[in-house]
Symmetry: C2
Subunit: 379 residues, 2 copies
């Protein structure tokens, strides 16, 4: 194998492959990046078992300045290879396998010899029948992930909760994440050519990596699903993730259908207030703030306190306040996460009772986006 | 005590006081920030025993919008106080001691009550007779510190080497830092009104904090020195540091007066090459690169290698190469630090023998700035 390529193009195009590679793997060859020179171009692969990413650096894209002198394949130590390429002096570099998987990298006056591994020993990528069942705009998928995955569990005691639950019914995609203390639910429309229904759980971490790989937010993402794998295709990239096994808990019935107290805010204003209230809540042993709603005075007040440090109270001045008096306590971090996910919007908080979950919804789209938070018993 | 102040002004002016305060102190009151409302304005103090910083937020500076309703003093938990002030909603805030050192902070609709401590229990600042013996431009002091302190030791087994050695003779200031593997030496001119001579060692960490506190690089810094303390005065700030006790080793004789091989480079070009060579040196067990200078071919080549990962070699192409053949090995990190300190300049490397220290000097100022590196024996 021998090829010459534009160094910056190469760096940009191995970026998402690099991120799939972990130095903390029990399978030594997976600390490497696989390079295959083919007639179509250079195929670069990285994997950490959970996710695998493959990029084609195309021969026919002139920007790549790719000249393949001979075909072949090698696996190179990913971290060093990446650092070396980033620091090479020239605009281009040449990579050549010399002998025994030793690989010569030259650029300007610099000459590196890297000990590679036999590409035949690199694990095969998962097999997912590449039938483009579903299509979704990258931008919408990106948004959907950011609006939900933070609610997934980060603890492995219930592995299924570390995933995002996707239910596809015709052209409707319903995404739900919950760590059993809070829940985020989002509905969007997709293009489902097969009109099959799907019910899958994707590791939240995989989705975070996936949307980080998106560059051109205008593009479409094609999705194919097999028994235990999902494949996302966009630009020159194939992104595989394993699916989580097991049944996702029924979450429909958790979302209250009615409410007895309602508040409306600009998300940003409420976020600022909660951040202040949580300053002292964090110092206390139980990370809790208290919200008191008084119908008669139309006042909503938030309280935080730490016996050691002090107390805080703030009159929230909601845009609207309707329904009954209420006193409720909750973890302010959950509310902060939910408000950040809601973004710059007007939102509605709906409460039923001090120990029942309450919800946040953007007033412009109450049906399709719901954040739910379970309160804390403080007495 | 009660005062109202512009919040942003306050935040800016407590910044360097805040940085002097450590949360990891064995003296609980030093986790606090001391505020004293006087006729002149608000005096804010922080200390971690090694350094103490005091700022005057002046009454007569209109930007501060400082209105002192009643005089007094309090010590507030610094970390929380700082976070609270940063997040308050209003452009101004009001601070008032209510009772038992409880302090009420109000801004907009927000109301914090912080548990303070009695300011009478706050340790006294060091006594340094404030006689403005020395004056140096902040910019020059800043540069001098950045050019030298990285060579100070970070290990406590020889505490004196964790400091910067300053020798003041008339109007000449000589600064030296060494960790016994490398050394940085800088000479500058100062204004010494007393014409006394001084020989002191200041903790490197104190100096790093000091120069971080500089904002207006045009200003002068006044320096006063006592038995075991040094005081830097600039703008509205008093910055105290303890001095290190003990005799600093004689370093004059370490700097070679003659050389047998000389190379010249642009600092940036050499830095790039050393960074590449060190990529593999870091992977190996002994962090070493090898430099081979060949008089006959006028070639200087740098080599790095890691038995596991691979090798690198690079033809350095110096601007000039004079003297004898040489092969020398050294820690590339020392050379990188020295080159970064030299900045964007043409420099001269001077060697005497494979196991003797070599030096780097800017060609424009060979007398006043010297970096020295001790090589490593590799055979």
């Amino acid at each position: 194998m021998k090829f010459t390529i534009n160094r910056n193009q190469f760096i940009n195009q191995i970026n998402n492959v690099q991120r799939a590679i972990s130095s903390k793997t029990t399978i030594p060859i997976l600390t490497g990046m696989k390079l295959v020179a083919t007639q179509q171009g250079l195929i670069v692969t990285g994997s950490n078992v959970d996710i695998s990413v493959q990029n084609l650096i195309a021969q026919d894209n002139e920007d790549n300045e790719l000249e393949i002198a001979s075909l072949g394949a090698i696996v190179l130590p990913a971290r060093f290879f990446n650092e070396i390429i980033k620091k090479l002096p020239g605009e281009k570099f040449t990579l050549e396998i010399i002998e025994n998987n030793q690989t010569l990298i030259t650029s300007g006056n610099s000459e590196f010899t890297l000990n590679g591994l036999d590409a035949n020993n690199y694990p095969h990528l998962p097999e997912v029948e590449n039938n483009d069942q579903l299509t979704i705009a990258a931008e919408i998928l990106h948004q959907l992930v950011n609006e939900t995955v933070f609610s997934a569990s980060t603890q492995e005691n219930r592995p299924i909760l570390t995933g995002l639950h996707l239910k596809i019914t015709g052209n409707e995609l319903l995404a739900v994440a919950t760590d059993s203390h809070r829940l985020a639910q989002r509905k969007v429309t997709i293009n489902n050519q097969s009109q099959n229904n799907y019910d899958i759980v994707i590791p939240a971490k995989s989705l975070v990596e996936l949307v980080r790989s998106f560059r051109d937010s205008e593009q479409d993402v094609k999705i194919s699903i097999s028994e235990n794998q999902i494949l996302f295709e966009f630009a020159q990239t194939l992104f595989y993730s394993r699916l989580l096994e097991g049944n996702y808990p029924a979450t429909d019935r958790l979302i209250p259908q009615e409410s007895s107290t309602q508040l409306e805010f600009e998300a940003k204003t409420l976020l600022d207030s909660v951040e202040r209230a949580s300053l002292l809540a964090h110092a206390g042993r139980n990370n809790v703030v208290r919200l008191v709603i008084e119908k008669a005075t139309k006042k909503a007040t938030i309280y935080g306190n730490s016996p050691e440090v002090g107390t805080v109270e703030e009159d929230l001045q909601p845009l609207s306040l309707t329904g009954e008096d209420l006193e409720i306590a909750f973890n302010p971090d959950y509310l902060k996460d939910a408000l950040r996910a809601l973004g710059d919007t007007r939102l509605r908080l709906e409460f039923t009772a001090p120990l029942h979950p309450f919800t946040l919804k953007p007033t412009s789209d109450m049906e399709n986006f719901i954040q739910l938070i379970t309160p804390v018993r403080t007495f």
